[in-house]
Amino acid sequence: MVMEKVDPSLVEFDVRTDEMLVNMGPQHPSTHGVLRLVLRTDGEVVSEVTPHIGYLHRCAEKIGEHVTPRQWIPYTDRMDYLAGMNMNLGWALTVEKLLGLAIPERGRHLRVIICELGRIANHLVAAGCYGLDLGSFTPFIYCFREREKILDLFELACGARLTYSYITVGGLVADVPRGWMEKCEAFLDQFEPVIAELHAVLTSNEIFIRRTAGVGAMSAEQAIDYGCTGPVLRGSGVSWDLRRDGEPRYTQMYEGYRFEVMAQVDGSYPKDEPYPPVPPAAVLGDSWHRFFVRMLEVVQSMKLVRQGIERYRRAPGPVGEPIKQNQKLPQGEAYLETEAPKGQMGFMVVGDGTAIPWRVRARSSSFCNLSVIGELCRGCLIADVPAVLGSLDIVLGEVDR
């Protein structure tokens, strides 16, 4: 007599070994802040990852509806607190779009310099923390050592090291002090060889490759479906960068600048500065590629900064005048996405004729990039969860806002 299975899933459940639900976070060394991941594990194998967010929710958007655009700039600093300059820029450009403001050339080039330095600073944190996620402590220190030098430059420019509020609606708060550009060039000169060092301890390290290559691979379709942007999207082989492909109000900031969008298209990365070869074990869209894209972007950002310095020197005049605090916003709305280091950061502002926006909205790249983790971590090992999460490079301040 043949027994009929009433519910095949029941039988399957019976032969399973015990599963365990584990909370990874919100206090955990490698969730990059207060992220809580609930892992359903069978031994070391993770069958399901559920992200729980909201631990760093600070009502930023609601606050934005009660303060003037310039007063909200410090709140943008605290979204992606690792790349505050780029957050400032996104909001400033959005409000300028609503107001129809244009800023002087000198300010434009200074913004490029500052934002690309911010991108380098962010990618240094991403690379360093990624090494930490994989158990390698030393690259973390190397990266932070270099980041500190960028922060020194920022401190010279605006007095702050983390929450800058430097780029503001209408330009920048102030021009950089005399001699700043020389210091910046000196930094770039000494930083160039460090990149090779980081490639040696991370990108080309055999253990690093084994830990990341083929782990958390995401196809380009999947990345687009989930709304992934930034290095996460480019790591999947989509050549998409708002600095090149964005709307004119943003791309005109980079007008005349030469840089490559680093993504592996048709089997190879764009020919540029020498970089280590792609290991055979790496699959397009895996953690290794996401990491690698960031390392390559650092070089591109350095080139942009060098070009910016050159153009800045040739552009006399002011860097822009911040708008008045009581500047009335016109009726209407504006939405603009910029290429922040972690992905496309979108801000929306709706004006109702007063100085205070009627609605403020922030579209977070980290939020979309994080949403894919459940998909990427299905069936991986516990040790792969930090490896995948680190390669997504999220920051919870931006996810929760």
């Binding site: 060394p29 070391e44 158990g135 220190i141 991370l202 084994r210 830990r211 040790a383 930090p386």
Partner: protein
């Protein structure tokens, strides 16, 4: 030493255990001091090394310029912290676990010689003992992880169990390779065999021992849970693994156990592969610092030797730190792959290779004088005992048997009293009351010449002489407990026998005589 006390204090048989207890406590105290100092020193060193590797200074405040009191400051901080036991924990096991780990890694030092004869308890199965006891450390970790009542701790314990149990196999296999070359599991004997120039170090003996060292290094790093194999406490994955719920003093016990184990495996590597207390050049011999020139010279030579040994262990530990601060962590499946797919086949191949090599080329690659001659000698036609069971041609230690003049052997080290370092006075020795030796050296071998040559020969010949007849000798269990109980049972003094005055010929003769493993 205990026998010395018993003899001189004239203790009644029922009180003799007091002497043994006292000596045991004294030796424990010394060892604990060494282990704790080493652990503290290496904590400081780890901070400094990691600091330098990471382009920072490391500790600079506690205790002055180099922060050399940092370990002490850390210790004080840890001890004054609250001793937390989580509500979910199995309190008794949770409290017990750190002691198991610490005791296991501490007990290793019982059999680890720091110089020729400077060993708490000379065991003829020291390698086996060390590997076995060091393997016990994992129980503390598993117990701690299980008893913590935390899922992360449980993960850490599971990983530790899988990893350490797997790595015991290649670790044992790779430790056996130098043992095979040396023909003894006695670390003192192994160390004595590598005296002279660095070419006589076992790592340079042949290509197999050379490669085996790297397998050993990998497995040693894995078995003491250091990066890149520190899965059990993988910070970025398991918070702190089995240590998650531990704090304060209990945490520091695990910590010290880790450093003690590191030092122990590095010390074992120093003896098995790098000549132990013998320097790269026979400087102590050039300086005449051996027992033949008197006890003070012998002691000075041993002191230099122990510094040599400590330096090698120190280098080994530093290499482990270097690895830790350079490499990312492996994943658990990769750790098992390294073990099962690479380390075990490699070490097994090395094992077979070294067997073949010692058969064909017993003198080793560089044919350092001693071993080379031995090989020729034993392979020669006069090696009449070749046919005897258990005999392998070219078995090196028979050198001493074949030595033309036992009174003046080539190596000054042989010409010294066997337990010079352990502080046994000559008269005691001459009466045959040598702790640790009495049970294995046949009493007939305890020749009492004033130079002590014959005794030394008898002591070192234990294994070879046995092996010329059979391999039984390697399995002799020289447990201190057994020796003590036997001594106690036989009343000790009854065992004092006057050995015949040994000439060199006499020695050679006794050596080739039947092995006596046990002479109660």
């Amino acid at each position: 030493m205990a026998a010395y006390l018993v003899h001189h204090l004239d203790l009644a048989p029922q009180w003799q255990w007091l002497a043994f207890l006292g000596v045991a406590l004294f030796q424990c105290g010394i060892l604990l001091g060494i282990v704790l100092t080493a652990a503290g020193g290496f904590t400081w060193l780890e901070r400094k090394v990691s600091g330098r590797i990471q382009d920072r200074l490391g500790p600079t405040r506690a205790g002055g310029r180099f922060g050399w009191l940092q370990a002490l400051a850390d210790g004080v901080k840890l001890i004054t912290k609250e001793d937390l036991v989580p509500a979910e924990a199995d309190a008794m096991l949770f409290r017990l676990a750190p002691y198991i780990s610490f005791c296991a890694s501490f007990a290793v030092y019982l059999a680890l010689p720091f110089a020729d004869g400077w060993v708490s308890q000379r065991l003829n199965t020291a390698v086996f003992f060390i590997l076995a006891v060091a393997g016990l450390e994992v129980f503390g970790v598993i117990l701690g992880g299980y008893a913590s009542g935390s899922k992360w701790s449980l993960f850490g314990a599971m990983r530790e169990a899988a990893q350490v149990v797997s790595y015991e196999v290649p670790l044992g296999l790779s430790a056996v390779v130098p043992v095979l070359v040396a023909g003894s599991m006695d670390l003192v004997t192994i160390g004595q065999m590598q005296q002279g120039w660095f070419t006589s170090w076992l790592i340079f003996h042949d290509p197999f021992t050379f490669l085996t060292f790297f397998v050993y290094l990998t497995c040693a790093v894995a078995s003491v849970n250091r990066a890149p194999f520190d899965l059990a406490e993988a910070e970025s994955e398991l918070v702190a693994g089995f240590l998650t719920e531990y704090s304060g003093f209990r945490w520091s016990l695990f910590f010290m156990a880790e450093y003690a184990s590191m030092t122990a495996v590095a010390g074992l590597a120093a003896i098995l592969f790098f000549g132990g207390w013998n320097g790269p050049l026979p400087i102590t011999e050039w300086l005449g610092l051996n027992a033949a020139r008197g006890p003070a010279a012998g002691w000075a030579g041993d002191l230099l030797g122990s510094l040599n040994f400590l330096f090698k262990a120190f280098v080994g530990v530093t290499v482990m730190m270097w690895l830790r601060w350079t490499l990312p962590r492996l994943r658990i499946d990769q750790v098992m792959t390294v073990c099962l797919k690479y380390c075990i086949p490699l070490s097994a191949t090395m094992f077979v290779g070294v067997v073949v090599w010692t058969y064909l080329l017993p003198g080793g690659l560089l044919l350092h004088p001693r071993l080379g001659e031995v090989g020729e000698r034993t392979m020669g036609p006069e090696g009449a005992s070749l046919d005897s069971p258990g005999q392998r041609p070219g078995y090196r230690p028979t050198l001493l048997a074949a030595s033309p003049n036992g009174a003046q052997p080539r190596d000054a080290n042989v010409a010294r009293a066997p337990f010079q370092g352990s502080g046994v006075p000559k008269d005691t020795v001459s009466q045959g009351l040598r702790p640790g030796l009495s049970s294995r050296a046949p009493s007939g071998l305890s020749a009492g010449e004033s130079t002590g040559v014959a005794r030394k020969v008898a002591g070192t010949l234990r294994v070879p002489s046995a092996l010329t007849r059979s391999v039984r000798s390697t399995t002799v269990i020289d447990s201190p407990i057994l020796s003590v109980s036997n001594r106690a049972r036989s009343g000790l003094k009854t065992r004092v026998d006057k050995p015949p005055a040994a000439s060199s010929a006499n020695v050679a003769q006794t050596v080739s005589g039947p092995p006596k493993e046990w002479s109660p």
